[in-house]
Structure formats: C-alpha cells, structure tokens
Symmetry: D2
Subunit: 355 residues, 4 copies
C-alpha cells in the first residue's frame, strides 16, 4: 500500500502507478479528499518497497502481511471512504451498521404467484431484502435446478418477477449467479448479486461479477477456512468492488455417526471476520441447519455472535416447496425470528460499538 | 425397555430382571409411585422381545433404536422422576431449568489466595458454581499440569481450598477428574465431578466416576459427533447415574490456513442435543474460542442457541495465569457476560417452553 | 433406466424418449448392437415406473438408488460400450486398463523453453501425458495466475506451445480450464480438459466442458465426500460424455497444530470409487503432499491402493518455478517414481483382475 | 537438552540434575559410553539456558522447539542407544528395521479355542506378533465389551490364553489396556501393551503404562493431528520409556453424504512421522477401512507409504465374530496381504535406506 502525500500531484500519482505496473502488478487507487492511497494487486514480495518511498509525492509504503490486504482492517485506516466497519449500500438498505438486515424469500422461484405471495409475507414479517433462486446450485443433476435451467427465456421471466416483486413490496432483491454466462442477464434485474458457497473458489466468476459494480453477497464454502474465504473475497476487491457482504452458511460436519444438521454453523467466524476485515458479515441459518425446528435458535445465536443480519428461506407452505422444504419457515415464524433478533441486537450492540 | 403394569408385584419385577440377566444383560430399574420401568443395558438385538410381553406383570416391551437409549427423550416418557427436560441438582443449584447457571473460576488452582480472590470475584459477578482445575489435562508433558501433579498431598490441599472456597462463598464446586486413581479423592471434596473433553471416550473413568453418584459435568470431545457424545454419556447412565450435565466446548477446526480460534464452537449441537435427550447442556466458550476478545459474543450466542448455562475461565489478572491466560476474562467482564446472557435468556426462553 | 427389448423398433424407442420428456426429464440413450438402454436424467422419484414397462418394446425399467446413476457399476452392466471398468481413451493413451498412466509436466507453463525442456525430461522418464497450467487457480489474487492471466493472446500462445510440445514428444496434453470463457479456446489445443478441485462444484463449467466431447480429468474438491464427488461427475455424464478420469488430490486436514502436508490424501477413496463406478481414478500426490520429499512414498502408496495412474508436477529446477516449487520433483526423480510404481502395479494387479 | 562433556564426572552430572530440579523440571538422563545427555521434562521456556552452559562439565545446552523433544530426530542425534531410526524390541521381534512386522489375531478373544485356532492360522500365514482384545473399547455400552467386562477372573483367564498361545505358536503377544486399573494385570501376561486410539489423550493411563517398561503400541486418535499425537507420545517417553510403536488407524471422515469406510486413512502421516521422530510407525487397516474388501489395497498402500508393519484383525470365520466381523479377513487372505506387502517393501526400502 502506497500512501501519497496530501499535496501529491496527479503526475506523481501516475508515476507511482506506472512504476507498479512496471513490476507486473496492478494498482487499486483510492483518491480521497485529503490524500490518495494506492493498493498493490499481485505478488509484492519481489518488489523493493524502499524504492517507492524515494518517488516524489510518496509519504509512506506499507507492506500488509495478510493475503487479504485490500479487505484488511489495516487498509481501511488509510483508505478514504472505507471505515473500519463499512456499511454496504444495497438498493437503499445499509448492511453492516447498527440496524440488522433480514433477507428472506423462497429458496427457488417457482411461479410468479408463489414469489409474490411469499414476498408479501416476508415484507409483512419485517424483512428488508427479497431473495429468490432462479439458477439453483444443486448437488444432483437429477434434482430441480430452478426455472433458469429451462432456458434463457424462462430465466429472464423469473428474474423479471423478482424485479417486479422488489418494486411492488419495496425491497431490493438478490439472487444467485451460478455461472459466468448468467452474469449479464442477472445484473439487469437484481440489486445484489449472490455468489453461492459452491462457487466461493470460482475466481473467474468472482472477477466477472465484481465488474458489475453491484453489491455482492458472497458465501463461504463449507470446506474453507476463514483465511481462504477472505483471500478469495480479495478477488472481488481487486476489481475495485468493495461492496461485499460476507455470509457464513456452515462448514462440513466432522465426526462419525448420524448427522442431525446439514452443516456445522461456525459462529466464532463472525467476530473473527469482524476483527480481520472492515466488511459486514451475515449468516444463513437455513442452509446450515437444514431443519426448520433449528432456525429460531440458530438465528438468535447468529445475531448474538455479532452478525449484521440473516438470510432465511421462507415459504407460505414449506411442504409444497420444490427445493429444501425441510428447512423453510413460514412468514409468521420469520416474524418471531426477527422480533427475537432485534431484542438480542440491543443486548450485544453496545459492546460492539465500544470496541 | 420393559414397562410393568402398575399392579405388578415385586416377584414379577424380579422375574423380569432375572430373565434379562439370563440373556447376559443388565437391568436399569426405576420404581416409581405408579409403575416400574426396566431399561436393558447391553445388546438387546439378540433378545426375543415378544417373550417378555408374555411374562406376568409386563405391560409393554419397547425397543429404543438409538445407541443412547437410557438418555433418550423416549425413555423419559415412561421413567418416573425424569421429565423430558431434566433439572440436574448440583449442590443446591438446578441445572436445566428456566434459570441460567454460570460456572466460573480459574483454569488451574494456583494458590489458596489466587483461588479465594477469584472465587470472591466470580461470586460478586453473579456466578453460581465455582470451578478450578487441580489435575490439568494438558497437551504437552512439558506444560504445567496443575498442583495435582506435585503429589497426592499437594492435590488434597488444593482440593481442600476448593471445598473451603465453596463453603465461604456459598457456591458448589466442580473440578476435573483426569484419571481413575483420582476419583475417590476428588469425590470427597467437590459437588460435581468433571470429565474433560480428552477423556470423553475413557469408558473406565466414566464408569468409575458414575458410581460416585454425584452430578457429572461431561464434556464433548473435539473429534466426536453428537451421536458418539451421547453414546458415551450412556456409560454413565448405565451405572444408574443420570445426573449428567453435558457440555459443548468446540470441535477441531477444518480447512487450511491460519486458525483464528482454538476450536470451532458447534452451537447447532445445543438444540439438537435438547431434542435427542432429556439432559441439560451448557457451553464452554473459553476453551472453544481460546481468545478473550471472543468470549462475550460466543457466550451470548451460546445462550441464544438455548444452552442452560456456561462454564467460563476467570482470573483477576489473566496475564499472570499459569495456564490459558490468553482466554481468561476478569470478574468485571464476567459480570457483563452474565448480564447480557440473562437478557438474552428472556428472549429465547418463551420459545423453549412452548415447544 | 429403461432397457428395451433387443427387437424393439426405432419407433418404440422414440415413444419411450417422448414419454420421458413428457415427465420433464431428459434421456441418455445408448444404442448397442444388441439392445438399446435409456437412462433418465432428472428427478425420477415422481415418475410411475411401472407405466414404462407397459410401453411396447420395453423389456425392463430399473430404478438406480444412488445419485450417480449414470456412472454406477449397475448402469454399466446394461449399457453397451461401457464395461464395469472403463478405459478412457485420451489421445491414444488408455486410462483405466492394466497399464499405469503417468501424467507429468510443470505446474505452470512459464515459457516455451521451460515447457519443452520439461516435456523432454518427463518423456524420457517414462511419462505418457504432458500437463502444464495456463490458467492457474490460485488461492490469492496476489499470486502468479499463469500466462493465461496476461491476456487471450498470451493464453493462446501458451496453449499452442503445449500443443506443439505434445506433438514433438508424442504425448497427448492436458490443461486446466478454470472458467467458462476459456472452454472453447482450450479445447482447440489440448486432448484432455482438466477441471480443477476448486471447480468441482461448478456445474455450469462442468456442463460446458462436457459438451466438448473430449476426455475430462476431473478432480475431487478438498471439502467433498466421495458421494458428492461422484454426484457432481454425473453433471458431465448427463451431457452424454462418459470419458471421465477421476482424480483424488487430498482433502482438508483436520485437527489442531502444525500441518506437515498441504492436504490429507484419502487413499481409501480409490478402491471405494472403483467399487461404486466404472470410471478410472488417478491420484495427484504433488498437491496433496505439497512437499517434494513425500512424493515418492505417496506415489507408491497411491498405486498400491489401486489407482490407474498419477499426475505429478515436474521441473528441471524446482527452486526456479514460479508456482509450487516446493512440491515439484525433477525428471530423474520422476523416473524413480515411475519405476517403483510399475513394480508395485505388478503386485496389486492380479488381485484387481480376479475381483 | 544438556550435553555433558565426555569426561564429565558423576558429581557434575548430579549438579546439573539438581539444578534442573531446582527449576521445577524433571531430568531424562542417558548415560552413554561416550557421554551423558540430559533431557529436560517440563516447561523450559522460563529457564535461563545460558546458565547451564556455565556449569562445570557441560558441553552444550540445546533448546528443541517441538513439543515432542524427547522423541525428536534432533534428540536422537545426541542420545546414545537411540538411532535416527530406532528398532523397538518386542519379545524378540524388532519393529522399525528393514524387516516388516505383521501383528494379527482376533479383534476380541472369545474363547480359548477361537484364539488358538486363529493364532495357528496367522502364524501359518506369516504373522510375527499375536493380538487379541480382552478389554474392548466400544462406542456403545450396549455392545460386547470383551471377556474382561465379565470380571477380573474371566479377564485373567483370557489373558492367560493369550500368554499360552504366544508361547505355543512362538509369537509375542499384544493386547489393549483400556483403563488404569488393568495395567498391572495385563502387564503380567503380555509382551506389548497397547493404548487404543480412544485413550490417546489419557495421560494418566499413558504414564502408568509407560512405567511398566514394556514396549507400548500407541494408536493415534481419530481427531488428532500429527503434532498432538507425538506430543502425547511424549508422556510415555517422559517416564523414561522410549520403546514406543506408533500406529495410524484412521481419522474422522469429513464431508457430507454416505460414508464408504469407517475412517479416513491418513497415509501421508507415515513419512511425516518418520521425518519428525526416531520411532517406528505401523498401520491398522482393519479399523480404518472397516470393510474386508478394502484391506488388501490399504495394506499394500500402507507399506508403500513406508510403514514398518501392520496390525490386522483376522478370524477363521468373520461372519461368526462377536465384534467387527465386517472388517476381518481370513488367515488365507492374510497370507496374500503379507506376500504382497513383502514384495512392495523390496520396492520402497532402498529409497528409505538412502535417505
């Protein structure tokens, strides 16, 4: 990270960028009101850092040791416009501030009516953002893959329902982009682009999605450590897009015997991520637990651990859902979850804000 | 499980027990005011169950499918004195009811003064039970193993301090029994016998501790699934001791890269265990997190997930502690934790009690 | 799976396919010399199977219970052209037969000269197929991403070197396709398309690669169980491409403390996969071990466990390599590995062939 | 580690030991023909090492960084009687040399006849050491716990059969000591004391077993990393007993879905352990795989990875076995395994011996 003097000229800034490129690296430039900060994207271990401090206009050159430099707390200290606890703006809703954010909706969009009924239900229950899957990531080719699997026209139609529902019920909308070929289409219709857990390591998709300059909801893979998760989030940041909402959704269970939940929810990761990076982090209790009767407690626990919000699957009649019916809750149950979470937030927020 | 008719005679009961023994099994007998229930300990798969229903005085013979039959919800339905949600009485403190229970104290007892100073601190902060390690389970033979390692006399002296501190500050006390040879001695001085995570699979120790007929604080091993945890708890129950407090304290981390906490805290296990068994379950955030700054949030999350209490390591000056100083909090910080947890309990309790 | 009578007419076959589509499923048709077999792609749980047996020309309708039906041993019994142990033809080299296959080359193609020097070395050492990465999957955006990252022209040039080296040293070539946008380009130059471990779950990439109808080298993700691995391989098979070479390359380490290897090599998966599916499976000891001094023993162990071959990273001067130098071996060391493996193969092959 | 000068007097040695004790540590003394080496047991981080070099007769004071100092390769360099690759003598059989060692026998001793029939079979097949469980570690209290569970007399009788079978068929014998109370009895009858995987962390048992000064067969726990495994083995070494045979027997599976084997066999741990310590390491394919049809390949793979031997469960009629019948092989199958392993050993041994 190169910190320019406040009175550095445009020419001096460009000279530094040129120099960075000469070493085969890319520059991540933040021009603030007071000063310009230039992050280095690429392997800086081979670069003579002292050389940069000799360039005119350079105030300081700081090496950041983590593999997620652009997202680190340290970086935020110098980077204008990024605070130590960034609020990601997503269609008018701020994620990461004092207010909790609840994202809710059906696992898969099945029909316009199904979507609108659920959208109305989750809005009434207090949700802020509407979710709904069109391109579903499924572990079996023999399972329902979402309406997106039926053709581009069907996909576009389903996306337009999402868009309309968002307008009608005044909620920004989010949906998963499962493959590179879907990025352009999906970005036309939704406010937030989701990258699913199974695509956490898909760096080509990350790069392509990042370039849309829309907020990204980015889920941790179930086999990834926290360091890996943040290192791959850096692929998004390296494209200049730091509007990233991180999401914990469970890691693979270990141990022998019966599995009572789909995944192990790693809630220690929440305060850890908040110490390591300036990004907001939310939790998906639905996929982690995989069973309706666990959602209430795990939602409460997620908020108690410090999460900035939740993403929850909701259906007016879970038994009817084409995908994941076992883990959906009703709009009424969602209301209970939200009420409880809001009360818990009041307990844990003062501690967060004093730290 | 054999359910006797309410008017079954003592002779008839004895005939059933004799019959059970004839098959090489043991009988777990509960004589209630209304009826007697007889659990089978051993491999019942080879037994002709219908044969038992033909015996005089037998009302019903029910096969329970889990490997933790004596601890299962199903068993509690017929067994008098055990409700679906048992409250374990430990030195006058009930664990598992509506009221949260906080167990706190130093990781290791280092001196009488250290113990008494901390005991006073945790009492003032609102703790109910005092903990303090005399025989420490350590991962390196080259680390401090507790005063118990210095000889039986030193061990007994340290245990007597625990006893006195408990009396003086009116808290029951708990300490770990690390090996079989320590059981008799430890049982003389403490109210609750703890079996540590590393001894979860030590069936000889489990059996020996169970026979003391004192409440047992039993920790899940970091490599154990929930089914294994409950299956081994059954070793305690099979000795007729069902005063078991289960404790989740983190499982081994998976994934590559830097570890930001000592273990992964598996909070989904809390509601899962409460569905599977009638025993209370508490959480040890200190060993799971391993870092002071994570304790507040993980304590709150544990209570939000439904835990009946916490066991927390406290020191008036964590930097001075001979063991685990990195994860200890001060009495003042403990007070903050307890206050926050009590408020969260009020949020999640109604849901528990209606289910 | 619908098995047609040997004398079933084309019309009858088409009626069955039409019927399958009417239920919203796809048909995987194998017209053999003796009879036609039709696999069902999609959720067949909702289909009245008996209905199919009533259609004219249908001999039998069999439900296969695993989520990897098209790849199961059971499927191969009826499907002509697929034996219980399929040999995948890759540029003239058969993978999965009695002869071991060794794939070797640099981790990343760095220059024409580097590639040709290594290609000559591995050929001399006894390798059959040449590997070389152009689009590298890396865990940090700040690391070298392969020549493919420098632009499409540079990527195409590097691919053409691979093509030329393959021709010159008479080895088919394999390289990783990391993203969907690279599929067309890469397929023009190489004999085998590799899908890396991090993309195991990338179903859009799988589908796109499968359609090229070239052999696919498909690596298990480090967080995936065997069932998941095979279930996702089914995405390739569902496109009609069953020329799949499976590859075990290590799973995430568990447990606390120092990591002495990059991953845990799961060699039990080798005989397990061979029992479950008719596809060949090879092992990548380089990425699993991550340390040169472990390669010899782990290569031998892989072949002893029954693997049909290995993929190994080789460099004439590992210390110079831009990527993964720590785990590369020299051509001379490769020769030792191949010699030892060939001798071990002779020990374990008779057992395989009698089973 | 304090290395004394070759001409150091007994008095000087004793002064060093006294000094070590003054710091609250224990001394592990090795008096060789040429010089005396004194290892420190306890936390040496607080000790002023330079102080020791000032004492008369001291040649060098070396800090060893690993938590398994007494077992480290570094330690063996100075310690007389311990080579970099120690051969543990167990009843006349050397484990860890060029010759492979095969330990075989029934999972549980069921009767004298069963034991003798199997003993004869494994001897004929080429086994060197006889195994047989008397005190069984079982995951359910409702399963058969071995004859040891029926009373001390029955246990002693079963142990005496083991002793007799060992004499008759000229094989040293090994059995598991599951709890502290069994140590004295078991040590009277067997040549090697086994500590099972579930007791890996049971430091009181380790200490008690170590003091018997018999060779110890010590199994890695399924949730333990290699560093932890070696750190706990150090508890045995700290009692002055370095006759330890380490054994890998599988770690907990990760990932979702069907489990096709009981555990994941971590064969990379074999060469890793051989680099880190001077102790021999063997493999238990029976418990790792849990299925008969995987034993042949996993045995071969274990030897190919460099293991010094195997411990395998054998029964003349696996279907009849009271415990683990699913994973037992017959004496004839054992012969095939041993023959194949011997041939593989010839392939991998030269590489080991040149390194």
């Amino acid at each position: 990270m190169i910190i320019m003097e406040s009175k550095a000229t445009q020419e001096q800034i460009e000279q530094v960028i040129k120099e960075i490129r000469r070493y085969g690296l890319k520059a991540d430039v933040s021009k603030g009101a007071y000063r310009t900060v230039i992050g280095l994207v690429g392997d800086e271990s081979t670069i003579p850092f002292t050389h940069f401090t000799d360039l005119p206009g350079v105030k300081e050159a700081i090496r950041i040791e983590t593999p997620y430099k652009l997202l680190s707390k340290e970086y935020s200290k110098f980077y204008e416009g990024i605070s130590e606890r960034t609020i990601v703006e997503a269609g008018g809703i701020g994620v990461g501030g004092d207010e909790l954010v609840f994202i809710a909706g059906p696992c898969a969009v099945e029909s316009k009516q199904q979507l609108f009924t659920i959208a109305e239900g989750v809005k009434r229950a207090g949700a802020h953002i509407l979710r709904g899957g069109v391109f579903k990531a499924r572990s079996s080719v023999h399972s329902f893959q979402g309406l997106g699997a039926e053709g581009w026209e069907e996909a576009e139609e389903a996306l337009s329902w999402l868009y309309e529902a968002g307008k009608k019920f005044e909620m920004p909308v989010v949906t998963e982009v499962r493959g590179e070929s879907q990025v352009d289409l999906v970005a036309k219709y939704v406010d937030i682009l989701q990258i699913g857990a199974r695509n956490m390591y898909n760096q080509d998709l990350l790069t392509k999605v990042a370039k849309k300059n829309k907020p990204v909801l980015y889920k941790r893979h179930f086999g990834a450590g926290v360091e890996e998760f943040l290192s791959f989030a850096e692929y998004i940041a390296a494209e200049g897009n730091k509007n990233i909402i991180l999401c914990e959704r469970g890691i693979v269970p270990i141990g022998k015997g019966k599995q009572y939940s789909r995944y192990t929810l790693d809630l220690i990761s929440i305060p850890v991520i908040q110490q390591e990076t300036y990004l907001p982090v939310i939790v998906d209790p639905s996929h982690a637990a995989g069973r309706r009767e666990l959602i209430f407690n795990m939602s409460c626990a997620a908020i108690a651990s410090g999460a900035s919000g939740l993403i929850i699957e909701v259906h007016y009649n879970p038994a009817e859902a084409l995908v994941d019916g076992r883990q959906m809750i009703t709009p009424d149950e969602l209301k209970d979850v939200i009420d409880a979470c809001q009360r818990i937030r009041k307990v844990v927020l003062p501690k967060r804000n004093e730290s």
